[in-house]
């Protein structure tokens, strides 16, 4: 029997697992979390014993059905609390999958190795946050953090919150905050109304179903959001200030290239700020597997195949398009990975194509303005882990002998800290390119998750086939 390993149990991975099971494969589904769902369907802890979990979820019933089908299937092995720390490229076929099982950052995890017949990678994406003065103050969070804490733990990050950045995802974040009892002072979309409408309004009728779902808005919150929270476009937080924690933010009107318009600054008192400037796909496993990347995402064919033999990609790693598109991609990937006939899943492929169209429009409607570095000062931290400043980067890049990407990295330590450039990598690459440096891949992490020396030194259990 064909063995399909699916990495990531968010909307894409869960759909891939379901379709691969329906196509007759045996499936191993791997996720670092306790429960499936990913960031989109981030579930409450089982220990909360919540009676109405669906109140926090859009599309809970179909998710719940799919989840039960997959986890209860006799051909499915569900590996929760399991991280992929590396992929090992083999001479033929998909790479072997190197696992750490049974914990988070230690906890007596065990090492295991699986050799799949086909590998579906659906690791998803995380918020991208552009740096600005004060973004390293306590109380400044990614938009995703605010949502994960509210949906996954019932924690609110503050009482007076500004949500800022770009993209439709800011709205469900604001909705989650409102639902959990915060006051959302305003939501700021950095792109101007004309930029946003250029992306959306052309043939917008085709996109309505996608857009509606992508908003992920729990219905009760929409009304509150519309009535109580101003949504301002062409405006951004360009500075956070406070003594030891964020106390106020400075917002400014932006030109279409995101350069602030002088004289338009406003100061807004807050106790928390949530920012997100789009998403960064988690591509390290694809780099390790030798997959070709294109325009910052994994390149796939019409059946979600990557350029690496036996490796499929699904979800936000192929383009940011939200959960419905991710599910469609996962379904195609899982089905084909399991050996299913692509002709038998026309409907899923159509949905997937609509999702790709949506991703393109999303990108056009919510681009990152090229002038964002205008927000920076010389002492603004760019790499949070190593506290490399914008000035440090500028100094490194103006040396002709030191402008190579490795020289910049090793010379300034930007990207060398514990997050391994996940937060700053794309930003540093853009700053480097602007200052004449070499542009290099920012996703090369052969060690995809930290592994303790004791875990690494032990022999892995080789799973028998």
């Amino acid at each position: 029997m064909r063995r399909v390993v699916v990495v990531g149990a968010g909307p894409a991975g869960l759909a891939a697992a379901e379709k691969a099971l329906l196509a007759g494969a045996s499936v191993t589904l791997v996720d670092a979390a306790d429960q499936p769902g990913g960031q989109y369907h981030r579930m409450l802890p089982e220990a909360y014993a919540a009676r109405y979990p669906k109140r926090l979820h859009h599309g809970w019933d179909s998710f719940d059905r799919q989840r039960r089908f997959v986890l209860e299937h006799r051909r499915c092995t569900w590996l929760s609390r399991t991280s992929v720390w590396a992929l090992e490229k083999l001479d033929d076929g998909p790479p072997s999958v190197q696992l750490l099982r049974g914990g988070v950052d230690g906890e007596g995890r065990t090492r295991e190795t699986i050799r799949p017949d086909a590998l579906v990678l659906a690791p998803g994406a995380h918020d991208r946050v552009l740096p600005f003065p004060g973004w390293d103050l306590p109380g400044v969070h990614t938009a995703g953090a605010a949502q994960a804490l509210a949906k996954g733990e019932r924690i609110v990050v503050g009482d007076r919150v500004v949500v800022a950045g770009t993209g439709p995802f800011l709205l469900p974040v604001a909705a989650s905050l409102l639902e959990a009892g915060s006051r959302v002072v305003e939501v700021l979309e950095a792109n101007s109304p004309s930029t946003v409408s250029r992306g959306w309004l052309r043939r917008a009728w085709e996109l309505l179903p996608q857009y509606g779902k992508a908003l992920e808005l729990a219905e009760y919150a929409v009304g509150q959001l519309c009535h109580r929270t101003p949504y301002r476009m062409g405006r951004a937080v360009v500075e956070a200030r406070g003594d030891g924690r964020v106390e106020e933010v400075v917002t400014a009107r932006l030109r279409p290239d995101w350069s602030p318009v002088p004289g338009t600054e406003r100061t807004v008192p807050v106790d928390a700020l949530c920012v997100g400037h789009g998403f960064t796909p988690q591509l390290e496993l694809f780099v390790s597997a030798g997959c070709t990347l294109r325009d910052g995402f994994v390149q796939v064919d019409g059946n979600q195949r990557t350029s690496a033999a036996g490796v499929f990609a699904a979800g936000e790693v192929t383009g940011i398009a939200g959960a419905p598109a991710a599910r469609a991609e996962g379904a195609v990937a899982g089905w084909v990975a399991a050996g299913g006939d692509p002709a038998a899943i026309r409907a899923e492929r159509r949905k997937r194509d609509a999702g790709r169209d949506f991703a393109r429009r999303l990108e056009r409607a919510h681009p990152i303005g090229a002038a964002w570095p205008d927000w920076l000062r010389r002492n603004t931290v760019v790499c949070r882990c190593e506290e490399t400043s914008y000035g440090d980067l500028q100094a490194a890049l103006t040396q002709p002998a030191g402008s190579g990407s490795r020289a910049v990295k090793l010379g300034t330590r930007a990207g060398l800290g514990p997050c391994q450039g996940r937060v700053c990598g794309t930003n540093v690459a853009e700053l480097s390119a602007r200052l004449g440096g070499e542009t290099a891949s920012v996703h090369n992490r052969p060690i995809a998750q930290p592994i303790r020396l004791g875990e690494l030194a032990g022999q892995p259990e080789e799973e028998t086939r």
Partner: protein, 103 residues
Amino acid sequence: MSPRLVPGRDDRVGRNDVPVRISFDGDPVEGIDGQTIAGVLLGSGRQTWRTGVSGGARGVFCGIGVCFDCLVTVNEERDVRACRRRARDGDDVRTQSRAEDAR
């Protein structure tokens, strides 16, 4: 104001809270079972617990295990992401930094 937990009696999801108790730098801190360590600390009104390279206070930034800003030492194990590790009764959680005195 500080970060806080949505009070159980008001919560629309209908929780049934079971207390969990950890120690944070020697002080007892109470949370509810199922929370991450970050959740327990935030729920107790603490916003930061790590010291950055140049002394700045750090806590949760990304909330999903990507930024490594929230690292703590748990039961003498360094570099545990507080936003991902579930709190267990009796966990000994300590702040950490790269400086010598933190060891």
